[in-house]
């Protein structure tokens, strides 16, 4: 059996167990979906206060800001559903010795540790977020070309990779610091910064958010969808995303190295 299909099958089994475990709390599930929807309305209504006083902020209309807010909920949902639950368990893995156990499995440790848990309650968030993004696009009155859609897909994929890389980086840190709960707040803060288009902040904040690179999460994918992306970002974004994954993977291996060194 090829490595990829085996890995996919193992993860599927892990996720099925996680789903069965959580569906038990049906009220939890529905109430979390309802809350996610509420937060989206909340964010849209909150942003509308700005537009009581102006038609555009830094060139973004209210509908266009909705596109970004929708993407923010998409990415935040992915973070909460797939990344956060794994990061949060990292401390326990180290403290209780589960990591030793996982490392002895004939399976890529990084994939297994970073993706084996899933939080069902937030799995619908990306769907809701993309729905809001669609509403924003429609309200903005812009047509979306096939090229724009393809560019959007590419940049959104880069954003997800970037987020994944950050999580792996934090996991690597968690092995050393044994403080995953605190590190979880870092990834939360990172995503939270992408709630609005970075242009809505003035320099130097905007410059910092571009370098950090918060702009790659929601601002650039939204710009691609709205057909006003700087074309050179189609090259830069994948480079940044792949670079981030490489750096994170190296950091992860290094931390495992120091971990096995310490426990020997």
């Amino acid at each position: 059996m090829s490595g990829w299909s085996r890995h996919a099958r193992v993860l599927a089994i892990c996720w099925r167990a996680a789903v069965a475990g959580e569906v038990e709390y049906r009220l939890n599930f529905f109430s979390n979906v309802a809350l996610s929807a509420f937060w989206m309305v909340w964010a849209a209504a909150g942003a509308s206060v700005y537009f009581r006083f102006t038609g555009t902020v830094a060139g973004w209309t209210q509908a266009e800001v909705l596109v970004v807010i929708g993407l923010f909920f998409t990415l935040n949902g992915l973070r909460q559903a797939l990344l956060q639950p794994n990061l949060e368990r990292m401390t326990d893995y180290v403290r209780l010795g589960t990591l030793d156990f996982l490392l002895t499995k004939p399976f890529d440790a990084q994939l297994l540790v970073s993706l084996r848990q899933v939080r069902v309650n937030n799995l619908l968030d990306p769907v809701l977020g993309l729905a809001l993004t669609t509403v924003g696009v429609v309200l903005s009155g812009r047509g979306v070309s096939v090229v724009a859609l393809a560019a959007f897909g590419l940049l959104l994929g880069c954003a997800v990779l970037l987020l994944y890389a950050l999580t792996v980086l934090l996991m690597a840190l968690a092995v050393v610091l044994v403080a995953a709960e605190e590190l979880g707040r870092v990834s939360y803060a990172f995503v939270e910064l992408s709630r609005f288009p970075v242009e809505l902040y003035r320099n130097p904040v905007q410059a910092v958010l571009t370098v950090v690179p918060v702009a790659f999460l929601t601002t650039y994918p939204a710009a691609a969808l709205l057909g006003r992306l700087d074309p050179y970002l189609l090259v830069i974004a994948p480079a940044v995303a792949v670079g981030a994954v490489v750096v994170a993977t190296l950091a992860w291996r290094r931390s495992l190295h120091s971990y096995s060194g310490a426990s020997a």
Binding site: S31, A34, W42, A45, G46, V57, E182, L200
Partner: protein, 266 residues
């Protein structure tokens, strides 16, 4: 009652000790504690592009959001998460077996944590007021005393409101979500989403009689010198009214809740 009062200092002290042990956690909480400044960032862009909305200048926004950051970190809603966690783990039973009412156990615990935040945030706010041009509070001794009282009231209302809400945990596992919904709705009336002065008139007139403004907007507006004597007195009256209301509500719900907990706690 006297027992409770004498128990406060040592309990707060040990909570501060616990909080100080988790230095890293506190430092990272401060990281997210500055979120109100992001909302400010957008306003500053709006001022720069189209002039001050409703006369709110860059300096006004700086002053408002610096103080709002302090209040944001002074809220008592951590009680809700603690309750939720204790309900799940069963640690509430441990607290129920102690001869001090759990409300005071949670309150002293939260107070200890807030004190740590204040030791960082208050100097930062004072420093910002001195150094950042445009960030200015027209304070005299009388107003400063009023602000101090408003801060205590803000914390007390926020804590008691959150504690009352936490009691939902006796009936439902959805305490935190219910609280988040309540907080989310309230954030439009508290001055969190935007200064109430920039909100539509109908919302503002509703907000002045709701408890949310007591916990955030009222002390900030007072500190900025935007309230006259009548508005100040009105703000205090509303806050004290809600404090009393939540105290009564808490007692009633607690009595029913404990009875229910004793019926089902497995």
């Amino acid at each position: 009652m006297r027992d409770v009062v004498t128990a406060y200092p040592p309990l707060v002290r040990s909570a501060t000790l616990v909080a100080a042990t988790y230095r890293g956690r506190v430092a990272l909480s401060l990281l997210t504690g500055f979120f109100p400044l992001l909302l400010m960032g957008v306003w500053l862009t709006i001022v720069a592009e189209g002039g001050p909305p409703k006369g709110w200048t860059t300096g006004d926004f700086l002053s408002y959001y610096a103080a709002a950051t302090l209040l944001w970190n002074l809220s008592g809603d951590h009680v809700v998460w603690q309750w939720d966690a204790d309900m799940r783990s069963g640690d509430l039973s441990v607290r129920l077996l102690r001869p001090v009412h759990p409300f005071h156990q949670y309150a002293t615990n939260d107070l200890g944590h807030r004190l740590i935040f204040l030791t960082v945030l208050v100097p930062a706010l004072v420093l910002a007021a001195l150094l950042v041009p445009g960030l200015d509070y027209p304070v005299g001794p009388v107003r400063l005393a009023a602000v101090a009282a408003a801060l205590v009231l803000a914390y007390a209302v926020s804590l008691l409101m959150a504690s009352t809400f936490a009691l939902i945990g006796f009936w439902s596992t959805q305490t935190s979500n219910a609280w988040l919904l309540w907080w989310g709705l309230g954030s439009f009336a508290s001055g969190w989403v935007a200064p109430l002065a920039l909100m539509p008139d109908w919302l503002r007139s509703v907000a002045v009689v709701l408890p949310f403004r007591t916990a955030m907007g009222f002390p900030v507006e007072l500190l900025m010198g935007r309230l006259d004597a009548r508005e100040t007195a009105y703000g205090f009256a509303v806050g004290l009214g809600w404090l009393a209301a939540f105290a009564v509500l808490y007692r009633v719900i607690w009595r029913h809740g404990v009875r229910r907990y004793q019926a089902v706690a497995g």
